[in-house]
Every structure is written in C-alpha cells, then in structure tokens.
C-alpha cells in the first residue's frame, strides 16, 4: 500500500489506516521517506525542449510510402531464407545429388534436352514433331552404342520424323521421347535465386541508406 499511498491513490479509509500505521512504525516511515526522496529527485528532472521540429516533410513521406522500412520488415529474413536456399541448391548441384538433364530409358543420359517443333502433316492432318536444327551442327560421328549418351545432333543426323507418341518407340531407338523429365533445372534455379538475392540485398541497402537520411 505504501507506493499507492505515496502516489495519493488510496481511498480515505485506507489512507487513514496507513497514516496511523506510519505514526507507530519507524521502518515503514523511513521506507516511505526514502521513496519520497527518490520520487522528488525524479520530479526535479527538467523537461528539455526538443532540439528541432520533427514535423513530417512532404518529400520524406512520399519516399517513406515507396520504401517504407516498416513494410519492408519482412525483407531481411526473406533474404536470409532465399540465400540459404541458393546455397542448398548450389550444394546439391555441386554434389550432384539430383540428376541433371534427361535420363534415357536405358539409363543413358542426354546431355541436352531435345527440342521439338510441330510439323503439320499435309494429308492426315495429324500433329507431327520434328527436332529443330541446333544453332551449330557439328559433324556427327558414328552413332554411339546403346546405353551411352545420345545427343540431339544424333537425331538430327538421322533425320527422323516422329509422331508424338508411338513412332519414337516404333523406331526402336534407344531412348523414348515420352520418358518423364526426372532431373531438376538446377542451373536455372540457381540463376533465378541469385538474381532474387542480389535484388533483395540491393533493396535492403537502399532502404537502410534512405532511412538514415530521413531521420536526419
């Protein structure tokens, strides 16, 4: 009750009770006086006038609305998360935990994903597919043995026209076009994540610099 007595927050009854107790209790009286001393010291602390006006300027608020540090509070942890993700992808790529590119039906690995262009057939009207010409067509050596890597150039050299599904299998080729792509495009993911991380860091740095200049 002493603190409330000190701040004059007691009702009449409680106040009278504390007063009568203080008349007989030296310990409580000393406690009260010492607390009154501390409070009196604090009451003498002056209110210092603000050194300048903190009025909001038009320019400042406009800038704040674009790069609002409060709104961008999520950016720092998000940058950390994306950076960690990038590092994980880089590590996976480095260790080659996940397969790259396309795996052939017999276990061979295509070094480049074949590209198909639709070629309409004149009579049947069926949709046909053809390998497109690569940018550079180096001379192709003999076909590799079954079970080794098969390149797009090989297919071009053989000049096969395949139907979307069946023809490929009918040719008895070593690799099936409709085999699902089991590898992850790690390179593209790495590049995308790197760009995102770079952008986030740039925004963070810019926001931090702007915030400093606004508070001056």
């Amino acid at each position: 009750m002493l603190p409330e007595f000190l701040d004059d927050r007691l009702g009449h009854d409680d106040r009278d009770m504390v007063k009568s107790h203080l008349e007989t209790c030296e310990t409580c009286t000393r406690e009260l006086e010492s607390l009154q001393m501390a409070v009196a010291m604090l009451h003498r602390v002056p209110i210092v006038p603000a050194p300048r006006s903190f009025a909001i300027r038009n320019v400042a608020t406009e800038r704040v609305s674009i790069f609002d540090p409060q709104r961008l509070r999520w950016l720092r942890p998000a940058t950390a998360v994306v950076t960690v993700l990038l590092l994980v992808v880089l590590a996976i790529d480095f260790l080659q935990v996940l397969p790259l590119g396309m795996e052939s039906a017999d276990g061979g690995v295509a070094t480049e994903e074949p590209r198909f262009v639709p070629v309409p057939t004149s009579e049947q009207g069926e949709q046909m597919f053809q390998f497109s010409e690569p940018a550079e067509s180096p001379p192709v050596a003999e076909s590799p043995p079954v079970g080794t890597s098969v390149t797009v150039e090989k297919c071009v050299a053989e000049s096969h026209y395949f139907e979307e599904d069946d023809t490929m299998r009918d040719t008895g080729s070593a690799w099936a076009l409709d085999a699902p792509t089991s590898g992850w495009p790690l390179r593209q993911i790495e590049i995308a994540l790197a760009v995102v991380v770079f952008s986030m860091v740039a925004v963070l740095a810019f926001t931090r610099r702007r915030r400093r200049s606004w508070s001056k």
């Binding site: 001393m37 501390a38 209110i47 210092v48 903190f54 009025a55 909001i56």
Partner: protein, 194 residues
C-alpha cells in the same frame, strides 16, 4: 483546432494537421526518448522514427487516447534503438554513460557548491535510470518525470494496472537504493535517511 479534428484530417492525408499534432507532442516524445536512451542523438532518431511511424499508421488509430497511442509508438521506437544498440554490442547503459547529456535539475536557489552537487546528482540519476530494467525505467519515466497516471501508463505499455504498479515500485526502490549509495550528493534534507 480540437485534437480529434486534427486526427481525422490526418487520417485523410492532411500533413499539416498531422504536423500540428507533432508540434504538440514532440517535446514529450523527445524527453521520454532522451531519458530512456540517454543519448540526445539517438533520442532525436527515435523521435523522428516515432512520428514517421505514427504518420504511416494514423489510419489504424481507432480512437481512445491519442497521447497513449503516440507514446506507445515512442516507447517501441526506444526499444528498437536499444535492441539495435545491443546488436552492436553496446548496452543502453554504455550508450548513456558515454553520451550523457547535460542533466540539470531545476533549482533556482543554489550556491556554486550546490550547482556542482546538482551536476553530480544529475549524472547519478542518469546512471540510476540506465541501470533499471527497460520496463521499470519506462514506468518510472512516464510516472515520475512525465507525470502520467497509472491508467495512462497501462495504456502506453499495454499492461495491467497491477503490472504498472509493480514495475513502478520496483523501479523506484532500485533507484532509491542507487541514490542512497551516494548520500553526499543528495540535498541535506535527504541525507542520513537510512
């Protein structure tokens, strides 16, 4: 113009109206920041942050005590500054003791000796406040320096009345103990109190 009208106009995007509110509260906000943080420069930053945050968030103000609302933002800005200081391995106490502002105590009738004692006492109070835990320091500053009621402090700190009383009592007791360790600096009537 009434405060509620200024708030309404501020919510409609009127910067001039908001700046009138700033003018009205900036001394109080600055002084709370100064006593919480100790450093005038950091207090200026915290004050600026307070009003920028308030301007951005004024649309969310749903009524009640605007003073409590703005002081709550100020208190949060101070906590942010103290956290930032801790991240740079500097405690708020270090910050205060390194950049201790002039801390005069109001006293019109004093001798040169008393003036020197007053300066020392000011430093002692600064030191004592800095040694309080942050929540107790805020309660003591709001109540005994800014003169807020328990209810207002409860709104500012978003804590119960019981918590406010407890923090205030513990803060005052701790500060009292610090002051009593330097009785030679206290005014004569407060010496030999224990």
């Amino acid at each position: 113009m009434q405060e509620h009208e200024l708030i309404k106009r501020s919510q409609d995007g009127d910067i001039e109206a908001f700046n009138q509110l700033v003018e009205h509260y900036q001394n109080q906000v600055y002084n709370i920041a100064l006593r919480m943080l100790g450093s005038p420069e950091t207090a200026e930053d915290a004050t600026q942050d307070t009003f920028l945050s308030a301007y951005r968030a004024i649309g969310k103000f749903k009524g009640g005590s605007f003073k409590a609302w703005i002081l709550r933002i100020a208190a949060n800005a101070c906590y942010d500054k103290m956290r930032a200081a801790r991240r740079t391995h500097a405690t708020s106490l270090d910050m205060i003791l390194e950049e201790s502002p002039e801390f005069p105590l109001n006293d019109n009738e004093e001798s040169p000796e008393d003036y020197a004692l007053r300066q020392e006492l000011g430093r002692l109070l600064t030191d004592g406040l800095a040694r309080l835990p942050e929540d107790q320091r805020l309660a003591v500053i709001l109540c005994d320096i800014q003169g807020l009621s328990y209810e207002e402090i409860s709104q500012v700190t978003r804590s119960s009345l019981g918590t406010v009383k407890s923090r205030l009592n513990r803060g005052r007791t701790r500060l009292r103990d610090i002051l009593l360790q330097h009785q030679e600096l206290l005014p004569p009537k407060f010496r030999h109190n224990r």
